[in-house]
Symmetry: C2
Subunit: 154 residues, 2 copies
Amino acid sequence: MTDDANKTLVLPNFLPYKLAVLSNRISRGIADQYEERFQLTVPEWRVMAVLGGEPDLSASQVADRTAMDKVAVSRAVKGLMKADRLLRHFSATDKRRSVLKLSDSGEVIYAQVVPIAIDYEDAILNELTKEEQSQLNVLLNKLQDIEINTAHPV
Amino acid sequence: MTDDANKTLVLPNFLPYKLAVLSNRISRGIADQYEERFQLTVPEWRVMAVLGGEPDLSASQVADRTAMDKVAVSRAVKGLMKADRLLRHFSATDKRRSVLKLSDSGEVIYAQVVPIAIDYEDAILNELTKEEQSQLNVLLNKLQDIEINTAHPV
DNA sequence: ACACAATAGTTTCAAAAGAAACTAATTGCA
DNA sequence: TGCAATTAGTTTCTTTTGAAACTATTGTGT
């Protein structure tokens, strides 16, 4: 079969579809455990997650590290500030640039959510053998780095 | 380390996060190739994708197979009908139940989008060895089937 | 020094997604 | 039979998301 026009598309076997379903299920599963309990949206948690490990980032640095866009970060920061989970000041040398970190109460929440997230990851990984865990890691890293280059004619 | 409270969360190494970023990138990459070109939204394409391979499904059967909810299917069907890409009638034995299939023009579009989707999948898989492709398949199937059971105390 | 481009972040407006209520048809069973 | 519960699908209302325009500040080239 050299002619791809003959191939069929079976959704449940289609890699992008399988990834999307799996990823949604996992993200939702974690979010379900912190959303109502800590009054946190998913983008808010992502911002907290990155600042918990690396404080004093600007909003655009947060955006880089979370793969969120700057509008989403801006909104998440707004929500977190309102709930006093975040401290912000602006750089003295560049008044546009914000400097963000968790507040004390933000740190408390961070310390509670981290184990929930890690337990969830563990619960997944525990279903795999050591070997499979390692394979998964290698594969995801490799896929992360590839540059997708469609051959299909336009 | 038996106490998970000491573990740290490094977002770029966190499985759910890696899956989400990868999946979004891939889904967006494919959608970018059909959205404007065929005036198709992602849910609309999913509905077409499933009906192209298996015609005469009802809306709720489509929802099952696509992991979409019934509201999303209803809206996608509405859009596709309006653009004459779908034919619908209602079952004679159960007047609630719709019977959906691609129209002729829907088939034409389906036949054009399928190779785009498959090429995209191929472009990804080609970055992996045969062995890795097989591992990925096994892993995703396994992950798909697991029932996630968090140990974290509430 | 000054105009123009670039960057950081916010706001606004429109499209998309989700939840809940609703209509209509069918099923189950007292 | 006939009435409550269930199922299929749609509509409505609210929230979320995304894109584009906007403000403020800084950088760059002449």
